[in-house]
C-alpha cells in the first residue's frame, strides 16, 4: 500500500517530527536524563487496569530508568486498535497484550518481535505450564509470554436450588476446607453431565405469562468461541483441521452439529437460557440471582462473592458420551515489531511473567489462574487456598492438568472467531444448526484459502 516514495516521505516527515519533538522535549526537560518510556496497549475493562498499574508501579520502583505508559481500551476496541496501529507501523507501541489464540495471526502478519533472544528454550519450558508456553510459540519462535491462563467453572446458585428442592452437584462451597486430592476426586467422579444440567435447569426456570423471572442456565461469554469450544471438545470434535486452515468437515462435523443443536435447544426448545443477553451482561444476571446455573470463567468467583450470591463452584460439565473438556488460555504479552525499546520491553516481560515479584503482584491483584509453574506450587502449599472461595484455584489446577483444551492454532483466528460468534448467535436466535454450520464452514474456507497462498 505504501509505495517506497510514500514510505520515504513518511519516514522523512516522522523523522522530522521526531527530531522536532526530541529537541523540544530535550529543551523542556533540561538536563534531566530522559527515562525510557514504554507504551503498553492493554485492556481497560473492570479491574484489569488497576491491577496492571500495581505491577507497573512495582516494576518502575525496581527500574527507575524505565517508565511504562498504558494505552487502555475496552475488549473489542483493543483488538481493533491493535490492527489499526500495527498496520500503520506505529512506533509508539512497545508492549502488546496478545489474546493467546492470536499469536499465530499476529506473527504471520509481522506485528510481533520474537522473544528468542530473551528467553532460552530451556528457560521457557521450566517457567510456564506447557499449554501456555506452547500457545505462545509460532513457527518455532517464542512470540509472546504468558501473563496468566484461565479455566472454567460451573457456578450454582444454592438458594435457587434449595427453593426448588433440587440436589446441587458436589462442589466447593463456603464453610468447607478441602485438599487438592479431595477436589480432584470431585472433578474425576462427581462431575455433572450437560444432560443433568438441562434436567435441573428445566425445573429451575420460572416462567409466568410469557415472562421469565429465573433462568435455569446461562453461559458467561454467550456464543463466543472461547466459551463454547468445550462443547465440541467434549465430543472429540475440533473446529478446524490439523493444518489450522480447513473448516469443511471440522466446523460442521457431526460432533459439532450435535453440540450446536444442543446449544440452540437451550434457547429455542427448552427455553432455559435467555436470548438477547450479550456476554457483558450475562454475569450480572447470575449476580442478581436471576440464573441458577452459570458456566463461565474463574474470574467470576471474586465477582459473585462480592455480589453476595450464595453460590457453589463445581467442575464444568461434559457430554455423557464424551469426555470432560474445559476452556483455557488467556492473555500473553508481546513486543511490537516496530518498538524502539525492545530490550527494555523484554525486561518488563521478564518482570511480569517470570519474576516472582511481578507475577505475584499480578496474581494477587487479578486473581486469574497463573501460567507460572512456580506459582502453582505456591498455591498448592498455601493453606489460604484450601478454603472457599480460594479453593477454586485447586479445581482450576486440576482442570488445567486434565481437561484443558487450548484454542485452535490458526493464523486466521480472527476470522474463525468472528464467524463462530455470528454463527452461534444465529443458532441461538433460531436458525437451523446444520444450515448455519455448513454456511459458516464454506465461508471460513474462503478466508482460509488466502492463507494457503
Amino acid at each position: 500500500m505504501n509505495t517506497s516514495a510514500h514510505r520515504f516521505a513518511y519516514r522523512l516527515s516522522s523523522w522530522r517530527c521526531f527530531c522536532l519533538i526530541a529537541t523540544l522535549s530535550g529543551c523542556v526537560l533540561g538536563s534531566a536524563s530522559a527515562a525510557t518510556v514504554l507504551h503498553w496497549m492493554t485492556l481497560s475493562d473492570n479491574a484489569w487496569p488497576g491491577n496492571v498499574k500495581k505491577v507497573v508501579a512495582a516494576f518502575e520502583a525496581q527500574n527507575p530508568d524505565i517508565k511504562i505508559q498504558l494505552d487502555t481500551y475496552p475488549f473489542r476496541d483493543l483488538f481493533e486498535t491493535i490492527e489499526v496501529r500495527m498496520k500503520a507501523q506505529d512506533k509508539d507501541v512497545d508492549l502488546i497484550s496478545v489474546d493467546v489464540p492470536l499469536v499465530a495471526s499476529y506473527s504471520v502478519r509481522g506485528y510481533l518481535a520474537p522473544l528468542d533472544d530473551y528467553f532460552s528454550k530451556d528457560q521457557i519450558e521450566k517457567t510456564w505450564i506447557k499449554a501456555s508456553w506452547q500457545a505462545g510459540m509460532y513457527n518455532g519462535h517464542f512470540m509472546a509470554a504468558p501473563q496468566n491462563t484461565s479455566t472454567q467453572f460451573m457456578f450454582i446458585n444454592r438458594k435457587l436450588f434449595r427453593d426448588a428442592g433440587i440436589e446441587p452437584p458436589k462442589g466447593l462451597a463456603a464453610d468447607q476446607t478441602v485438599t487438592y486430592d479431595q477436589v480432584a476426586q470431585i472433578a474425576a467422579n462427581d462431575r455433572w453431565t450437560w444432560e443433568q444440567v438441562v434436567d435441573a435447569a428445566k425445573k429451575l426456570t420460572k416462567t409466568e405469562n410469557g415472562r421469565t423471572d429465573v433462568w435455569g442456565f446461562e453461559f458467561d461469554q454467550v456464543s463466543r468461541l472461547y466459551q463454547l469450544q468445550c462443547l465440541g471438545d467434549s465430543l472429540g470434535a475440533t473446529l478446524v483441521g490439523p493444518d489450522g486452515l480447513t473448516a469443511q468437515g471440522y466446523f460442521n462435523s457431526p460432533g459439532w452439529l450435535k453440540a450446536a443443536q444442543w446449544y440452540g435447544d437451550l434457547f429455542n426448545k427448552w427455553k432455559i437460557s435467555p436470548k438477547n443477553v450479550p456476554p457483558d451482561e450475562s454475569p450480572s444476571l447470575f449476580s442478581g440471582g436471576k440464573v441458577a446455573i452459570f458456566v463461565g470463567g474463574e474470574w467470576n468467583v471474586g465477582r459473585f462473592k462480592e455480589a453476595g450470591v450464595d453460590f457453589e463452584v463445581a467442575p464444568i460439565p461434559y457430554f455423557k458420551e464424551g469426555k470432560p473438556a474445559s476452556g483455557t488460555g488467556s492473555w500473553h504479552v508481546g513486543i511490537s515489531k516496530n518498538s524502539q525499546h525492545q530490550a527494555e520491553a523484554a525486561k518488563f516481560i521478564q518482570f511480569l511473567c517470570v519474576s516472582d515479584a511481578g507475577a505475584t503482584v499480578w496474581f494477587e491483584g487479578q486473581g486469574q489462574s497463573p501460567a507460572l509453574i512456580a506459582l502453582w506450587s505456591k498455591i498448592s502449599a498455601d493453606q489460604k487456598f484450601h478454603t472457599f472461595p480460594n479453593d477454586a484455584y485447586l479445581l482450576g489446577d486440576y482442570e488445567a492438568q486434565h481437561t484443558a483444551v487450548p484454542r485452535p492454532l490458526t493464523p486466521a483466528y480472527l476470522q474463525l472467531e468472528d464467524i463462530f460468534a455470528s454463527t452461534y448467535e444465529d443458532i441461538r436466535n433460531g436458525v437451523d444448526p446444520k444450515e448455519a454450520l455448513d454456511g459458516a464452514a464454506q465461508r471460513l474456507d474462503v478466508f482460509f484459502a488466502q492463507f494457503k497462498r
Binding site: 490492527e83 410469557g210 448467535e425
Partner: protein
C-alpha cells in the same frame, strides 16, 4: 480590483478550505483507491504487495459480498424515499399556523440533540424482546412480543425505524425552510382557484420545493449508504447477515480481520455506488425541472 489580482486573492482565501479538503478528504480517497490494489502478503510477513485488481476479483467471487450489496441496496431503496417523505410530512405539519404549533414544533425538534450512538443504545434497550418498552407497549394493545433486532426479517427494518426516528427532524428543517420560502399568496391563489388540497400541493408547492427536496434526498442518500453505527452497536451485521451492509463488511475486513486491501476495495465499491445513485437522482430531478 483587476481581474488578475482578484483571482490571486480568491485562491489565497480559498486555500485553507481547499487545503483541508484536499488533505483530509481527497487524499484519503486517493489512497483508498491505491490501497485497494494492495494486499498483505503472508509470505513476506505482512508486507504489502501490489496485487492489482485481485482484491476486487476475490470480492466479486465472495457470496457474502453480493449479500452485503443486496442488503445495502435494499436498505437504501426503502430508507431514502421514506425519510424524505416523512421529513416532508413533518415539514408540512410544522408549517401550519395555529395556536400551540410552537409547542408541537418543539417536540419535533427534540430528537435533533440525539446522536446516532445514543439513538442506537436507547432503542436497543427499548427493543429488548424480554423486557423492553416497545414490547410491553404493544402487548397493551394485544400484539404479541416481537423479537425485533434478533430476528433476521425484522432487524434491518428496526434499524430503518431507528435511523428515521433520529434523522427525520434534521431533514425536516431544510424542507420546512423551503416551505417557509413559498409566498403565502401562492397558497391563497391556489385556494381561490378552487383546487383540491392534494392537487394544490402537487401543482404549486411541490415544484417550488424541488431544490430543497433534491438537496435533502442527495445528502440523506450519501449518509444512508454509509450508515454503519447502528449495525456496529446493535447487530454486528447479524442476525444471519441480514444487516451486514457493505460498510460494515468493510469495517470488519479492516478492523477485525486486519485485511485492509479488502476493506478498501469494499469502500471503493460503496463510493461508486453512492456517486452513481446521487448522479441518477440529480439527473432525474433536473429532467423533471426541464419539463
Amino acid at each position: 480590483m483587476t481581474y488578475r489580482r482578484s483571482a490571486w486573492i480568491a485562491y489565497l482565501l480559498l486555500s485553507p478550505a481547499l487545503l483541508c479538503l484536499a488533505v483530509f478528504r481527497l487524499w484519503p480517497i486517493a489512497t483508498t483507491l491505491l490501497g485497494s490494489l494492495y494486499s498483505q502478503s503472508i509470505m513476506q510477513a505482512g508486507k504489502d504487495v501490489f496485487v492489482g485488481l485481485n482484491n476486487y476479483t476475490q470480492l466479486f467471487r465472495d457470496p457474502i459480498f453480493w449479500q452485503s450489496l443486496w442488503v445495502t441496496i435494499k436498505l437504501n431503496l426503502v430508507i431514502n424515499p421514506l425519510q424524505v417523505f416523512i421529513a416532508l410530512l413533518l415539514a408540512i405539519m410544522a408549517n401550519q399556523r395555529f395556536r400551540g404549533i410552537g409547542f408541537y414544533r418543539l417536540l419535533f425538534f427534540i430528537p435533533l440533540g440525539v446522536s446516532v450512538p445514543i439513538a442506537s443504545i436507547l432503542w436497543r434497550i427499548m427493543l429488548d424482546p424480554n423486557s423492553g418498552l416497545a414490547n410491553s407497549l404493544i402487548n397493551l394493545v394485544g400484539i404479541p412480543s416481537q423479537p425485533f433486532l434478533i430476528n433476521k426479517d425484522q432487524a434491518l427494518w428496526c434499524i430503518v425505524a431507528i435511523a428515521t426516528w433520529k434523522g427525520a427532524s434534521f431533514w425536516m428543517i431544510f424542507l420546512w425552510a423551503g416551505l417557509q420560502d413559498i409566498p403565502r399568496q401562492l397558497y391563497e391563489a391556489a385556494r381561490i382557484d378552487g383546487a383540491g388540497r392534494i392537487s394544490r400541493f402537487f401543482r404549486i408547492i411541490f415544484p417550488l420545493l424541488r431544490r430543497p427536496l433534491l438537496f435533502v434526498l442527495i445528502t440523506d442518500t450519501a449518509v444512508n449508504f454509509l450508515l454503519f453505527v447502528p449495525m456496529f452497536l446493535l447487530t454486528r451485521g447479524g442476525p444471519s447477515y441480514s444487516t451486514n451492509v457493505l460498510m460494515y463488511e468493510a469495517y470488519k475486513s479492516g478492523f477485525v480481520y486486519g485485511d485492509m486491501g479488502r476493506a478498501l476495495a469494499l469502500v471503493m465499491v460503496l463510493l461508486v455506488l453512492v456517486i452513481t445513485t446521487v448522479a441518477m437522482q440529480f439527473r432525474l430531478f433536473s429532467q423533471e425541472e426541464a419539463n
